[in-house]
């Protein structure tokens, strides 16, 4: 994680205070900076506050946090479970790690408040096993300040799908991190059959801030609109890494200070492996908030912004990502196992300039059949990525397929 001058002043944010490069914020600083956590009497008001704040889930699905907590509070008999999702299986994303490692007490605040509000007597910190610093930091924070409920840390397997909501619950219940058929969803029946709040660690951290400062503060925190503050991860830039931003800020203003320039940018991958491509022109003025992005046919997802330079081949990266997604399939459903694998193989051939026009025709056809035919949304993400690559890199696909040349390599094709 590199320290970078933030694009705007975020003096009120999650990462105000101790700089990112200086390691985890300890309990003393945390309490000094933010003040005490609201007491149990204020619990009643938290759900309305969250709903008013418009805080959306930051794991990728973007579901309103207040509404989620409400639906569990309604069905909880005091034995609900809070599962803080810090699996962060998306390879390009680093923001959950940043939040867990550097602001562990903010996460624990969120967990404690959530438990109080939804009526949970148990919390699980579901942390990607490979995120060792994050695990250490949270374990230390828990030791510094034990919570008044049963808390355990569960190591999430290092698989892309392990962070999916039903997969997390499945792993905690049965040691198998594969998504399950829904319904029932975790909020109805999750860990141990009890209503379970599966919430991203960043969402929990911001919920903690909103509990202290109110929904008005959150809505006013960004000069660019009412969407508050949030985390993104920048990649493909000179200074990559996690950043806190004012939501709604234009993408160009966010990536600029990290070393990117529109003139040298060909396209931007927004949302990670589960996301979509956009041209540099589209992307630069794009307001980084879920509503605006949805209107533009994109999705905020987990906040990954990956810049592709004018000298790089977008097909190469797309092919690589599709190969990864195919390999990371939970392999429970035929269309994903066979369809996605076939698409990844053909796309890989095309990207490597050993494919044929037939390959291209096939991935266009197969790509249109991928969405909505699995038990989880994994193939849908791949389909979205593929379709967006056709839109943005259409000519390049044609060139790779017909003449087996790449605009970005200038080399003749290698033999099939």
């Amino acid at each position: 994680m590199t320290a970078v001058t933030p694009s705007r002043s975020l003096s009120n944010g999650l990462f105000a205070g101790r700089p990112m490069a200086a390691g985890p914020e300890l309990i003393g600083e945390h309490t000094a900076r933010l003040g005490p956590l609201p007491g149990p009497e204020a619990t009643r008001d938290l759900i309305p506050a969250l709903e008013l704040s418009g805080l959306l889930g930051r794991g990728g699905a973007g579901f309103p946090v207040g509404r989620k907590w409400r639906s569990i509070a309604e069905r909880s008999d005091g034995r609900a479970v809070v599962l803080a999702n810090g699996a962060e299986g998306e390879p390009l994303s680093a923001k959950d790690r940043a939040v867990m490692t550097l602001r562990p007490h903010a996460v624990l605040d969120g967990v404690l408040l959530a438990a109080r509000v939804v009526g949970a007597d148990e919390a699980i910190l579901y942390i990607g096993a490979e995120h060792r610093a994050a695990r250490r930091s949270l374990a230390t924070a828990l030791a510094e300040r034990p919570l008044p409920l049963t808390v355990r840390i569960v190591d999430a397997p290092d698989r892309y799908v392990a962070g999916e909501e039903s997969a997390a619950v499945h792993f905690v219940n049965d040691g198998d991190a594969r998504p399950t058929n829904v319904p029932p969803r975790p909020y109805e029946r999750g860990v141990g059959g009890r209503p379970t709040l599966v919430q991203n660690v960043e969402s929990l951290a911001y919920a903690g801030l909103i509990a202290r400062r109110g929904s008005d503060w959150f809505r006013a925190a960004s000069q660019a609109g009412p969407a508050g503050l949030g985390m993104v991860t920048l990649a493909g830039v000179a200074h990559p890494g996690a950043r806190e931003i004012e939501m709604g800020a234009p993408l160009g203003e966010i990536v600029g200070p990290s070393g990117a320039r529109q003139e040298t940018t060909q396209a931007v991958l927004i949302g990670g492996y589960f996301g979509r491509w956009a041209t540099a022109a589209e992307a630069w003025d794009l307001a980084l908030d879920p509503a605006a992005m949805r209107r533009a046919g994109l999705a905020f997802g987990c906040g990954v912004v990956s810049v592709l330079g004018t000298d790089e081949c977008g097909l190469e990266m797309t092919g690589r990502i599709l190969g990864y997604l195919a390999e990371q399939s939970a392999a429970q459903c035929g269309p994903c196992v066979f369809g996605l694998r076939a698409i990844a193989d053909a796309a890989g051939r095309l990207a490597g300039r050993s494919g044929t026009p037939d390959d291209l025709a096939r991935i266009e056809r197969w790509g249109g059949q991928l969405a909505g035919r699995g038990a989880c949304r994994h193939p849908d993400g791949a389909a979205g990525l593929l379709q967006s690559s056709f839109k943005i890199f259409g000519e390049e696909w044609q060139r790779h397929a017909r003449s087996r040349t790449c605009s970005f390599a200038g080399q003749p094709a290698r033999a099939a």
Partner: protein, 198 residues
């Protein structure tokens, strides 16, 4: 003559039952092997398998009831219900009783599949491979036509059919549905353990 009718019915229904069971076995294997041709869609194997199995219940019932009711056999309800409890060819009849018990379990679980779930149903259904040979040996051991050429020929044909079908299934190994299963096993394993990613 009328005394003989029950005896004929028992033997006749028994033979028909065996033929139907054989067809049901072969069709079941065709179904699981996903065999099809332009003139024979997959649903035909599945549908016939089911319907012939239900039909064979009728012939089985005739076979058993006439055997019990027939005054010339010393078979009573006890012999029909409890294996090896008959005084007439206890071994042969006993095998038949076991075969019927398994068969009834197969039918019952299939009719109730919606309620008991796929896994339980499948576990019980494997017993079909035990039930059929028992029925065949029962026919050989306890039937009174056992030495007639036509019956021997029939039985050999049934054995050949089932052996061929079962052999085909065995030879195909796990290739049929295992593509997904093999990939899935790998994915399942890695979602249980933590290991470094790509």
């Amino acid at each position: 003559m009328s005394d003989q009718i029950l005896w004929f019915a028992t033997r006749g229904a028994g033979v028909v039952s065996l033929l139907l069971f054989t067809a049901v076995m072969v069709l079941g294997i065709l179904a699981v092997m996903r065999w099809q041709s332009p003139a024979w869609p997959r649903f035909l194997s599945v549908g016939l398998h089911r319907n012939l199995a239900l039909l064979s219940v009728v012939f089985l019932a005739i076979h058993i009831v006439t055997a019990i009711v027939d005054p010339f056999t010393s078979l009573g309800l006890v012999a029909a219900a409890i294996p090896f409890a008959s005084s007439y060819r206890p071994f042969g009849v006993g095998l038949g009783v076991i075969a019927v018990d398994i068969f009834l379990a197969l039918v019952a679980t299939s009719l109730l599949r919606d309620w008991i779930g796929q896994r339980t149903w499948r576990a019980v259904h494997w017993l079909a491979y035990a039930s059929w040979p028992l029925a065949l040996v029962h026919g050989v051991e306890s039937g009174s036509d056992a030495s007639t050429p036509w019956l021997i020929g029939l039985e050999l044909a049934c054995v050949a059919a089932v052996l061929a079908a079962a052999g085909w299934r065995l030879a195909a190994g796990r290739s049929n549905r295992s593509r997904l299963a093999t990939v899935a096993a790998g994915a399942a394993l890695s979602t249980r353990t933590s290991r470094r990613g790509i």
